[in-house]
Subunit: 426 residues, 2 copies
């Protein structure tokens, strides 16, 4: 059998799953603890360690490492000449506080494994690659330490100005600019707009598992409207202050939190609402709270439903403030429009999975992803493997090694098509 | 006119109000900032500075300074022999976060001013004092950094064991024991049970001002039941997690906060309720909260009303957890019984104020006070001057210099009676 036959060339490279598993274990050490919990807030010391580890891996793999001004890390594999398509893959290695190991990190490590497999097969077969590749790690996908989320990809796509992004501050008043400098990741690279972008991620919900399937591609992404709202009451002693004179900011917040849940119940399955963060001030057991700041999210694939939920929420804010005799102010609004990811990349994912014997489930992405932030400026796709129990943002987040292997194999297969055939989307 | 006539002896010493005002300004520097805000959390660096300042004042005034194992500071003026009554006065110099300058500090500085006036008149008249005096600064009255409040007086009264108190931890996990050692205020003095205890404090409510009066003494104190309750939900992504599967700890907290306000509304004027502190975990904008810890207070002068409010609250907890599909656990319960302060001290306050031309308003103390914690083991009284607008625990907390002067003058007059006549309550 000829080693360089066409059939052999077209078959995707075999991924070294043992090596992939070892890389996942290595990166999980940075901010990880017993029981699977991972706390690797963006631009923290743990993030710096994981970034250094990734930069070392990329250099050892022969990639040219560049950092841009918002700290996004790029690893360039430019072996196909300056006119060849540039195909990007990767995700993020920051995490939620007390989050899980797979959200984001799996996509970055999968990108490493796919590129390693492709490099190996190119070396073995001696073919000439027809695409360049870029491995990416985006800054602050999570939005846990700094808001908004998807900050690095949002700067790269042009949605946010660099100045806006660098000025965001965490709960302690530290800016993104200061945090980047302190960990040594304030770089100078220019914006990178690839010809295609593929991100492998664990599913952030239970639908694959419920359907008994192991692979999905994201067709449609939900829009999101995120409000930061402050209720302002009046600090007073919780003892002697007459109840009728209290202006309790936390009570107003409680009314609104309850009403925001009602808005979801009225909206049906296509509306998700939440209040994930609440900052109470002064937050002392015997002081009537003078301020309560809520971080509210409304999400829907339907722009009209999202808009009507926002109107309901604004009315609920007013009502909550009046009931608690507090004032309120909207401190910030972030909006992400609903939309669709690239149909041709979707077909490529479907064909690649089918060749490996699996049907592709069509999923909505309700969560944001960096590839969604990049969708306005490039052809982008998110592909998913199941998370056991649909768990995400929790220490018990887990994807079986078999499913992880399958995801990396599909990603590798998709990238291989670009490597062998150049711009397969053209 | 004879300088040592009986009439002259009975007249209370004149307080040096300019000196009193200067002392208030001095102590306000430790943790104070523009606009009247004061943040002097117990056993903090600011508290250490204020304690050092107070110790210096006491030593300069000839008092013997002792510190006990919970950090309570005592200044002994033992000029009447070992068998004479020991009369204690003072308050606390810790504050709420972003609190005011007068809560507590006024009572400590007033004690300094009263003792200075008495020492001066004793020197001028040459009389033999018939009572010893003890100036006190209690540790952690506020309960802002460590719970429960009234911790130092509670140890001294025997309500809490020293071991319990030293083991209390703040939000960062630092124990009272560690904090005392770090600021150098872990002493060795024994418990001090005086024969009488008088505490001057700004009123923690609007009643004096509303009645157009300038002086009150506390007859009755309210009981308090304080719960720390945790709702436990399940951390999950606020995006993809289906609404029907969310177990949102903050939503449960919101339901309970709203219901606790309803309990107050149903209870009438003799029931106060509050949730002043709420700790949300992980408190990230796009994570469904996995835990929410509430610090709840119920207060009433009526034990039956307090007990029925507690039963309603327990039912509300259960209901809130069920509605949000969360669990809950009660992490701690503190109870303070309603009761009465010393009637003879009350009469002495009334007579002293009347001699100075003011009627005494009879007030409930709804807030806790160290003298209330000490009431089971000594004759204790709290006396009040108005706070403008009834404000307390807020940077705009303010008592006019005239009212402050009047309060110190009454305190001085009461102490002077003990000085001249010995145990006037016997």
């Amino acid at each position: 059998m000829m080693p360089n036959s066409t059939a052999d060339l077209n078959a995707p490279p075999r991924v070294d799953i043992d090596a992939h598993h070892r890389l996942m274990e290595e990166v999980s050490a940075f901010g990880g603890s017993a029981g699977g919990a991972l706390t690797r807030l963006t631009l923290s010391e743990e993030d710096r360690q994981a970034r250094d580890w990734l930069a070392t891996w990329m250099k050892n793999a022969g990639l040219r490492v560049e950092i841009d001004a918002i700290g996004n890390m790029f690893g360039f594999l430019e072996w196909a000449g300056p006119d060849a398509p540039r195909i990007m893959t990767g995700s993020h290695i920051d995490s939620q506080p007390n989050g899980g190991r797979f959200d984001g990190s799996y996509g970055v490590v999968a990108a490493c494994s796919a590129i390693e497999a492709i490099q190996r097969k190119v070396a073995e077969t001696g073919i000439t690659p027809k695409s360049n590749f870029i491995l990416v790690n985006w800054t602050n996908e999570e939005g846990a330490r700094f808001q908004p989320s998807l900050l690095g990809s949002g700067v790269n796509s042009g949605e946010h100005t660099l100045e806006f992004a660098l000025g965001r501050k965490d709960g302690k008043g530290i800016s993104v600019r200061e945090a980047l400098t302190s960990i040594g990741y304030a770089g100078t690279a220019e914006r990178v707009i690839p010809d295609a972008l593929i991100e492998l991620h664990i599913e952030g919900g239970p639908f694959l598992e419920k359907a008994g399937k192991r692979f999905a591609a994201v067709d449609r992404f939900w829009g999101a409207t995120k409000y930061r709202v402050a209720f302002i009451g009046r600090q007073a002693h919780t003892g002697p202050t007459p109840m009728a004179e209290r202006r309790d900011a936390l009570l107003a917040a409680a009314y609104l939190i309850a009403d925001i849940r009602v808005i979801a119940d009225e909206g049906g399955l296509d509306l998700h609402t939440s209040v994930g963060r609440l900052e109470v001030s002064p937050n002392s057991p015997n002081v009537v709270p003078g301020e309560a700041v809520l971080f509210i999210e409304l999400r829907s694939p339907d722009p009209d439903l999202l808009a009507s939920a926002e109107e309901k929420m604004k009315a609920a804010m007013q009502k909550a403030a009046e009931r608690a005799m507090a004032e309120f102010e909207v401190r910030s609004i972030d909006r992400r429009k609903a939309g669709r990811l690239d149909a041709d990349l979707y077909k490529l994912a479907e064909a690649t999975a089918a060749a490996l014997g699996e049907e592709t489930m069509r999923l909505d992405s309700i969560a944001g992803h960096d590839s969604i932030a990049m969708a306005p400026v490039t052809k982008a796709l998110v592909i998913n493997v199941p998370s056991v129990g649909g768990v995400i943002h929790h220490p018990t987040e887990f994807t079986t090694l078999e499913d992880r292997a399958f995801g990396v194999q599909v990603l590798t297969g998709m990238l291989w098509r670009f490597c062998v055939d150049g711009d397969v989307l053209a």
